[in-house]
C-alpha cells in the first residue's frame, strides 16, 4: 500500500466524526444558534457509547444512548440560552467544559479498556479498485451512513429571521424585559 492509498484509506474514517458533528452544528446554526459546546457533547456521547457497549448493550443501543445523552446535554444548553437568554458563546463554551468534565468523570473507570469495534465494511465491487479501493475497506459502517445523513442538510428550512431571541417560537415567555433595561 503506497502513501496515497494509505491516506485515502484513513480519510473516510477520519472524516466521519467531523461530518456527524458538523451536521449537528449545521442544524443549530440554521436555526440561528451558535453552539460552541460541540466538543463537550461529542466527548459525552463517546463515553456513553463506550460504557453501553462495554456493558454488553450492543452497538445500536450505544449509538442511540450517545445521541440521546448528548441531546439531553444540548437541552441544557437550550434551557440556558433560549430560556434564560444567556450569551450563546459563553454558555456554549461552558457546556463544552461541562461535557468534557462529565465524560472524563464517567469514563475514568473505563480508561484503557477496549471494546469490540464496529465491523469493517468492505464493499464488494469498490474495494477491489486499484487506487481508491482502500477508501472503501477500512471505514466502519457508520462512515457510510453519515454522508447519507448530510444530504438532508441543504433541505433544512432557513428561518427568515435567524435569531435565537425570535419570540415567535415561544407562546409563553417567562421572562419579560424590565422597563429599566
Amino acid at each position: 500500500m503506497n502513501a496515497i492509498e494509505f491516506i485515502l484509506a484513513g480519510m473516510l474514517a477520519a472524516a466521519t466524526p467531523f461530518l456527524l458533528a458538523a451536521l449537528g452544528e449545521l442544524v443549530a446554526e440554521r436555526a440561528g444558534v451558535l453552539n460552541l459546546g460541540v466538543e463537550g457533547l461529542m466527548a459525552f456521547g463517546a463515553v456513553l457509547a463506550f460504557i453501553i457497549v462495554y456493558q454488553g448493550g450492543g452497538h445500536l443501543l450505544g449509538f442511540v444512548a450517545a445521541g440521546l445523552g448528548s441531546a439531553v446535554l444540548s437541552l441544557l444548553f437550550a434551557f440556558v440560552t433560549l430560556g434564560f437568554r444567556a450569551n450563546q458563546v459563553a454558555a456554549g463554551l461552558a457546556i463544552g467544559i461541562l461535557g468534557q468534565g462529565l465524560s472524563a468523570l464517567f469514563g475514568k473507570t473505563y480508561e484503557s479498556l477496549t471494546v469490540r469495534g464496529l465491523p469493517k465494511l468492505a464493499l464488494p465491487g469498490l474495494s477491489e479498485l486499484p487506487v481508491v479501493g482502500g477508501l472503501f475497506v477500512r471505514t466502519s459502517s457508520c462512515g457510510f451512513h453519515s454522508p447519507r445523513l448530510s444530504l438532508c442538510g441543504p433541505y433544512l428550512p432557513t428561518p427568515s429571521l435567524a435569531s435565537s431571541s425570535a419570540p415567535s417560537a415561544r407562546t409563553r415567555r417567562p421572562l419579560t424585559p424590565s422597563a429599566i433595561r
Binding site: G40, L76, V80, F84, R85, A86, N87, V89, A90, A91, L93, A94, I95, G96, I97, L98, G99, Q100, G101, L102, S103, A104, L105, K108, R172, P174, L175, T176, P177, S178, R181
Partner: protein, 178 residues
C-alpha cells in the same frame, strides 16, 4: 526551565503574583481609554455595532479588522508570555491549555468592557483556584473539578438573566396587561 533573570519579578514575596498583573491592570485601563476616549476606538466601536453606519461615515472596515486583530493577538501573546515567564517559569508541552476558551467566557461575562473583564477575570480565577483547592483538599479528580466549573458557569449565566430581566408570573389572556 528559564533563567532567573528571564523571569518576571514577583510582586508579593512568597506568592506567584508578579509584575505582569500590574501590566495587565495598566493595559486594561489603557484599553478602556482607547476604546472609550479615542477616535480610533470610536471608529472600531461603530464598526462593531453598526457596520453600515461605519461604512457610510467613511471608516475603513478592512483597516479596523487589521487593527483589532493585531491588538487581540498582542494581548493574547502577552498573556502566554506572562504565564510562561511568571508562574510556570518553564516551557512545558502544553502551556495553559484551555485558557483561551476560558478567556472568551471571561470576555463575555465581563460584558465586553475593559473594566468589566477585570472583575470577571477575578471571578473566573476564583472558580479555577477553588477547583484546584477542591482537587487537593477533597481528593477530587480533575474531571469532577471540570464538571463543577462548567455547572458553576452555567448557573452564573442563568443568574445574569435574573439581573437583566424581571420575572413576571401572569396568567395568559385572563388579565389585561398592566
Amino acid at each position: 526551565m528559564f533563567q532567573y533573570d528571564a523571569m518576571v519579578p514577583t510582586l508579593i514575596a512568597g506568592t506567584r503574583v508578579n509584575v505582569s498583573f500590574l501590566i495587565t491592570l495598566a493595559l486594561s485601563v489603557a484599553a478602556w481609554v482607547f476604546m472609550q476616549r479615542s477616535f480610533i476606538g470610536y471608529k472600531l466601536q461603530v464598526g462593531g455595532l453598526a457596520p453600515r453606519a461605519a461604512a457610510y461615515a467613511g471608516f475603513k472596515e478592512g483597516w479596523a479588522i487589521w487593527l483589532s486583530l493585531l491588538i487581540g493577538g498582542f494581548a493574547a501573546g502577552l498573556a502566554g508570555a506572562a504565564e510562561v515567564a511568571g508562574p510556570l517559569g518553564q516551557l512545558q508541552r502544553s502551556v495553559a491549555s484551555g485558557y483561551g476558551y476560558a478567556a472568551i467566557i471571561v470576555a463575555y461575562l465581563g460584558g465586553l468592557h475593559p473594566i468589566g473583564i477585570v472583575i470577571s477575570a477575578l471571578v473566573m480565577a476564583v472558580i479555577y483556584i477553588g477547583g484546584d483547592n477542591a482537587m487537593v483538599s477533597a481528593n477530587l479528580p480533575i474531571a469532577a473539578v471540570r464538571v463543577f466549573q462548567g455547572s458553576l458557569l452555567l448557573a452564573y449565566l442563568i443568574a445574569v438573566a435574573f439581573v437583566r430581566y424581571r420575572l413576571e408570573w401572569r396568567r395568559a389572556a385572563h388579565r389585561s396587561p398592566s
